[in-house]
Symmetry: C2
Subunit: 134 residues, 2 copies
């Protein structure tokens, strides 16, 4: 698959969940629908659970469901929950000591930070319930 398939998978799944919030879905069902593997689904949805967007239940009639109403979950919530910012320049870059590199780093970081904030802002305007309709 391609990069950011995690975000695709998460958004796709939550969009469907927004349609029938009370239905419990198993990772096997979701994986089958999305054309991937249950373990991959659990990995991705696990992050959403950590972020408080989903709940999961083990055992016989277990599975996944939304932790709150679909109107209260926005695309930004999903994006942030996955913690994979499209705009790189994370803390993995060591701040350089040389003046040229430092100036460059600062400039680029400033721009990327602004753009990242703008992205999150725009995403936050759409709840997942708006995707499927209602």
């Amino acid at each position: 698959m391609k990069r950011n398939s995690r975000l695709s998978l998460a958004l796709h799944t939550l969009s469907h969940m927004a349609e029938e919030p009370n239905r419990v879905r198993t990772s096997a069902d979701i994986a089958d629908h999305a054309g991937t593997n249950p373990v991959v689904v659990r990995r991705v949805l696990g992050r959403l659970r950590e972020a408080g967007l989903l709940t999961s239940e083990k055992g016989h009639a277990g599975g996944w469901r939304l932790a709150r109403s679909p109107q209260q979950i926005t695309l930004a919530d999903v994006y942030l929950a996955l913690n994979e910012r499209m705009i790189a320049t994370g803390p993995d870059y060591e701040v350089p000591s040389c003046s040229v590199e430092h100036a460059l780093f600062r400039r680029v970081t400033t721009v990327l930070t602004e753009v990242e904030a703008s992205l999150v802002q725009k995403l936050s305007e759409t709840p997942i319930s708006a995707i499927s309709g209602t």
Copy 2:
């Protein structure tokens, strides 16, 4: 190295070139300074040449130099020349037929396109000459 080392390498190199626009630099010099390989340098700078930002000369006293004044080359020029948009959702995504996936795709694409444009806009405000200090 990490992802987007191409952009880092390109910006770093051009920032230095902006300091002494008339100096010719060989890919070996640049590679040595940047801690990489001459072939990698030629690969990256080759794209900048295709975009008209640099010129290269073969032979004895050959090497790389800016194709125009450093005030006329912005960070956006470099970013666009490399043709690796940070904001994914390129044409490699096939447009989905299902309505839910389609609505999601459209929404996300709209946001990303806007953000990408905003990024380029911000980058275009800084010429490479501004990094090293005129």
